[in-house]
């Protein structure tokens, strides 16, 4: 194969037209504009109140609590979920059954009911101590403390979510071909090293998209922590304010705007994570590799295949 001056010119064809796409787009734009105009001119929406409370300090503090609850409960859920998934897949029958019972209980009862239960734990146990029996105490948690509700809220959400994360992670692990762990075993790797170095990194490609989903879903599930009761987060705060000023709609819009903004940020993070863990999954060369090949081709001009 040689590249010379007589090679034919590049094709300059008329691109295929898509008139119906334009029609559909115009119809939708018109409908959206009509709706926005209607909403903007409707006093019942209370846009003045919306603007007043959108950046209210209580609301942004509530959003911060919501983010904290989401992140802390998801960190707990992922850590515990990995542990449960690995336990379910391990050859050890004790681990297997413990993980199964955990999933049975935490997936089998509604999260709202679980949160109410965690809120009632302080009436069951006055405090939690970790230490040597009849000896010194290493860790002490006073459940009568008023600020305990935040901890109970994120622990409650995290323990529930862990059951779902365990299933997502298990599906990811099962998606990695058996030959992979066999090759690792044949190289002398232990079971745990095989999991950590070979199986889990490949499972991540399958695990990340549904985990992103769960993360976003958790952001909104935090509005249920009022069951604990904990009401300093975004939705609780918005509802408290609307209860005082008797204007529920603008405050709902305020909360929705914040939820949407945080979700958008999370989606960007998910995009980059997915790209990182899909390394090697495609035969397509990266831009860098393509450039290197093109350079080699230019250098060896007329030399045929790079």
């Amino acid at each position: 194969m040689t590249v010379d001056a007589s090679s034919p010119p590049a094709i300059d064809a008329v691109p295929l037209r898509h008139p119906w796409r334009w029609v559909a787009a115009i119809v939708i734009v018109v409908l959206v504009v009509l709706f926005l105009y209607g909403a903007a001119t409707n006093d019942a929406y209370g846009w003045a109140t919306y603007r007043k409370y959108l950046f209210d300090q209580r609301i942004s503090a509530g959003a911060w609590y919501t983010i904290q609850l989401t992140v802390l409960s998801m960190v707990l859920a992922v850590a515990l979920g990995v542990l449960l998934a690995v336990m379910r897949l391990s050859p050890n029958p004790v681990f297997k059954s413990v993980a199964w019972v955990y999933l049975w209980i935490f997936r089998g009862t509604p999260v709202y009911v679980q949160l109410v239960f965690w809120g009632l734990v302080p009436t069951l146990y006055k405090n939690i101590q970790l230490g040597v029996p009849f000896g010194p105490s290493l860790f002490h948690l006073n459940l009568q403390d008023l600020s305990i509700n935040f901890t109970l809220a994120f622990v409650g959400l995290g323990l529930n979510e862990a059951a779902y994360m365990a299933e997502i992670i298990r599906a990811g692990i099962s998606s990695v071909p058996e030959g992979q762990s066999e090759a690792s075993t044949a190289l002398g790797m232990s079971w745990s090293m095989t999991m950590r170095r070979t199986v889990l990194p490949q499972a991540m490609r399958v695990i990340i998209p549904p985990t992103g989903n769960e993360f976003i879903s958790m952001l909104k599930t935090t509005s249920l922590v009022t069951a604990v009761p904990f009401s300093l987060e975004l939705y609780g705060r918005a509802r408290d304010i609307s209860g005082v000023i008797f204007e529920p709609i603008p405050l709902l819009m305020v909360a929705a705007t914040w939820y949407l903004a945080i979700t958008s940020v999370l989606m960007v993070g998910q995009f980059y994570l997915e790209r990182y863990f899909s390394r090697g999954a495609s035969r397509k060369l990266t831009t860098k590799q393509l450039e290197a090949l093109a350079d080699a081709q230019t250098l060896g001009l007329g030399g045929g295949q790079p």
Partner: protein, 253 residues
């Protein structure tokens, strides 16, 4: 001299299915043994028993004098803890039919993974050795390529380099060319021939009779979980004694 592999009536069954019914053989150091036979004859299972990917049910299997998979105390055998089994496998390289390269690691990273993680080799030393091995299998320029970007033959050569990186005293090949396009078989066989000429002890399950004739010191024909016939490859191939061997060879040659 202790043989590299010594099998004494090795049996293996999966549930009620008996796959190996007493396989006895010996492979000396530096020898190449080629295992042939129809599919389902138990040759891959026997290979997998040698590095304890499958647990032997009866008989004894020794690699370089070490009993595989069990510890002998008095007249009782104890199952070996996974950690010790892993230690035994470090010295035995294995190459698979479907390569089983780690798709999320580049060619070089595939090779240096086990030396660094399992043997604790320093990263710089592992990389130097890895590049050296890639050069030996003729893929020096593919160090940064991911497996999906390599042809089957290239992937299998990286897989051989990966196994060699652990400095094994024995190499097992489980139908290394069966999943390859015909024009790619040669490049993998060439690497294996070179390895054999350098004195590596090898057990090869293959259908490449040309390779067997040229490289093998010993040819073993298996059928139905037993060794039907074995000997010098030229003799077995040109003058098979057993009916089943004749029938098989007439189909593959």
């Amino acid at each position: 001299m202790t043989p590299m592999v010594k099998a004494e009536s090795v049996c293996k069954s999966f549930g009620a299915l008996k796959v190996l019914k007493g396989v006895t053989l010996e492979i000396d150091k530096g020898q190449v043994l080629v295992l042939v036979g129809p599919s389902g004859s138990g040759k891959s299972t026997f290979l997998r028993c040698i590095n304890h990917l499958e647990q032997v049910n009866a008989g004894r299997l020794y690699v370089d004098g070490d009993l595989i998979g069990y510890r002998e105390r008095g007249d009782k055998l104890h199952e070996m803890p996974p950690r010790e089994a892993a230690k035994q496998r470090r010295n035995i390289g294995m190459v698979f039919q479907h390569f089983n390269l780690f798709p999320h690691r580049t060619a070089l990273d595939n090779i240096i993974e086990a030396p660094i993680q399992v043997k604790g080799v320093k990263k710089a030393a592992a990389i130097a050795r890895g590049k050296d091995l890639l050069e030996q299998v003729g893929l020096a320029e593919k160090a940064t390529a991911y497996p999906a970007q390599l042809s089957g033959g290239q992937q299998q050569r990286v897989a051989i380099a990966r196994a060699l990186a652990m400095d094994p005293k024995l190499m097992l090949f489980d139908e290394p060319t069966s999943a390859l396009d015909p024009e790619l078989v040669g490049e993998v066989l060439a690497v294996m021939k070179k390895l054999a000429s350098e004195g590596m002890t090898m057990v090869v399950v293959t259908h490449e009779m040309g390779f067997a004739r040229e490289v093998a010191d010993q040819l073993v024909f298996m059928d139905g979980g037993v060794i039907v016939e074995s000997g010098k490859p030229r003799e077995v191939l040109s003058n098979p004694q057993h009916e089943r061997t004749k029938a098989f060879l007439s189909k593959v040659m």
